[in-house]
Symmetry: C2
Subunit: 382 residues, 2 copies
């Protein structure tokens, strides 16, 4: 038995929990808050509401919204300059995975010197970060509870994975109401991203009994609630369940890490600026098929949690139903099925495959992979 | 939907994880450690090993072992005087629930003035506590991950429940090897205590999807591993599984709180100095029977996790199997079945029943209780 570690932020979950953002920051000793968000979230009205709660607690703030999808190193460097100029002493991230990852990377540079690219990899952070509160507005990234921040190195066109306990926020506030403003496509893509988190963390070599319960519960919630959540923008019960699924998958993957789907999709995100959830959804069935021999018994569990009837079936037959269930879900949600549709060209595959092998997430994939194996999977998904 | 909160310490779990105690304290900024334990744990050799790890990290320490089962207020007051005299700046608890609860109460008084009795109840702690690392040596109390400390008010002869997020230790180190030194009776009693934590947290009014997965997994582990763990002192796989069960139940009840079993057993602990695990084991079947109508569907889940075959059964019939499973387990383990055997007299029941109604744990019990209801349950268990 290896020694395993498990850690989460303080989690506040529920409708109206967003109202606790001011007192949460106050409690952590904040006085001037660097508020990281993006223009879409501002337009949806959430930032205005957040600012109202900050004012109620007499907190100053500096709003910074220069974040794009797949946040870039230069955006982080501009962000930390603004943080310093604003003399802030705490960080609040409000938005999807990009805004929260950017907020965490800026927090990193608030107390650790140099460029963000120096911190790629595991445990490179030397000094404690300023207080961080995160409010996700998509049920997907799990970044609000994770020890990850994914930032693009714009020179190398590579998504860097930065991993450290220091990146776990102090407080995560998850208010399912904030999910009502997502469109159908984003709901489907981020939902498939949650499914990928749940499955990859469950079959990860670093999974533990503490993470497995959260992975499996996330799958059950997705099986029951993702379709209805995509079907109607106003299905509050489904949105709430998907917020819980995202949270549980986030707790699981923060501690168990992920696998080849993420190692591969990070490269497409860095190279093509492709949307993360969509790429994961395309890659998941192919990687699942490849990984199958590493964990047939776990695939049976996945099939059961995704609603398949496995009673009376052999492990082999039951576990194959996991693949069927994932494909059925992707079909029902009309998620894209081809990487060429998002701009991947065959001649790029060799480079992206070698980079994927170096990604932190590849180290916990349950089946060994050569560069040829990765390339074959990219080609299957073309 | 109510707003729910969830929080755990950083958890380090596995054989040999005890070797990380020095660097864990060092990482939290400790230089002089107040080491709280009890004579039994010293005799088993764990304290000597711990001190070795502290010395490796050049940490000074002050050993304090004046803790009894059901720790008393005056022991805490003597402890904080020794902490101050020793000029310590961090707390390390090594032992069962009593040693860890005492360590947490001493940490409380290190930064908060007055007597420990002033802090009874919820959220009375004003100032942050010194760094705390906890190393449990019984799989039972869950105190190493919980926001509870239970201390006896010796004047009133009442077990006070102190509840605050501040009481959650910074780091919990769970090394299943430390459980090999428990005797059969202690293994059975603490195992039934874990079962009580799992069940009461699951049917608690404050249970959430984040806590329920841990409650249910604890039950599955208990159903499979508690009997073998009691059967052999040297069954390492069973001890390891019970350590994980205790941890998962601890995470669950720290966040979902408990119920009437604990509200009642706290009174017997305070009044008769009765062993906590044993009292819980006696009370559990009676309280479960009483609480049944509050959550039949949850009782079905309990039955399934405890290994009963519920397929094809109505909710009523399936849920009744939860009661059978708990009684079967208590029978198999030879745990005592009567409160009179541990010294309860009928004339004490009225007083203890009124006190139980005031206990924090009663507020989350899923079925309402009058003083007559509590008294009737005490009488049934006599």
């Amino acid at each position: 038995m290896q020694i395993s570690k498990f850690m989460t932020p303080e989690i506040i979950f529920g409708n109206q929990s967003i109202g606790q953002v001011g007192e949460s920051l106050r409690r952590l000793g904040a006085s001037r808050v660097f508020l990281v968000s993006d223009p879409g979230v501002v337009q949806a009205g959430w930032v205005e509401r957040i600012i109202h709660y900050l004012r109620q607690q007499h907190l100053d703030y500096h709003l910074w919204t220069n974040v794009t999808a797949n946040p870039k190193d230069y955006e982080i460097h501009a962000g930390i300059a603004a943080y310093r100029a604003g003399e802030c002493n705490a960080i609040l991230g409000v938005g999807g995975g990009s805004a929260i990852d950017a907020a965490k990377a800026i927090a990193l540079l608030a107390t650790n010197e140099g460029s963000i690219v120096q911190y790629e990899g595991v445990d490179r952070i030397m000094h404690p970060l300023p207080p961080m509160v995160m409010v996700p507005t998509t049920a997907g990234s799990g970044s609000e509870v994770s020890q990850f921040s994914i930032i693009v190195d714009s020179e190398r066109k590579v998504k860097m994975t930065i991993v450290s306990k220091s990146l776990i926020p102090d407080i995560a506030i998850i208010d399912p109401q904030t999910l009502m403003t997502k469109d159908r496509q984003l709901t489907a893509n981020t939902g498939m991203d949650v499914l990928t988190h749940a499955i990859e963390s469950y079959i990860s070599l670093a999974a533990t009994p503490l993470t497995e319960v959260h992975s499996l519960q996330a799958m059950r919630l997705i099986a029951e609630h993702l379709r209805p959540s995509v079907a109607s923008q106003y299905n509050a019960a489904a949105k709430q369940a998907m917020a819980m699924a995202s949270l549980q998958a986030g707790i699981a993957f923060s501690n168990a890490i992920l696998g080849a789907v993420h190692a591969m999709s990070h490269q497409l995100g860095g190279f093509l600026d492709a949307p993360h959830g969509e790429v994961n959804a395309i890659l998941l069935p192919h990687v699942l098929e490849y990984n199958y021999i590493a964990a047939p018994e776990k695939y049976r569990q996945i099939a059961e949690c995704l609603g398949e009837n496995t009673s009376g079936l052999s492990t082999h037959d039951a576990s194959r139903l996991a693949l069927k269930a994932v494909k059925d879900l992707a079909n029902d949600l009309d998620v894209p099925q081809s990487l060429s549709a998002i701009g991947l060209h065959p001649e790029q595959i060799e480079l992206l495959s070698s980079l994927a092998l170096l990604d932190v997430c590849m180290t916990t994939n349950p089946r060994d992979m050569s560069v040829q194996d990765v390339a074959a999977l990219f080609r299957q998904a073309l």
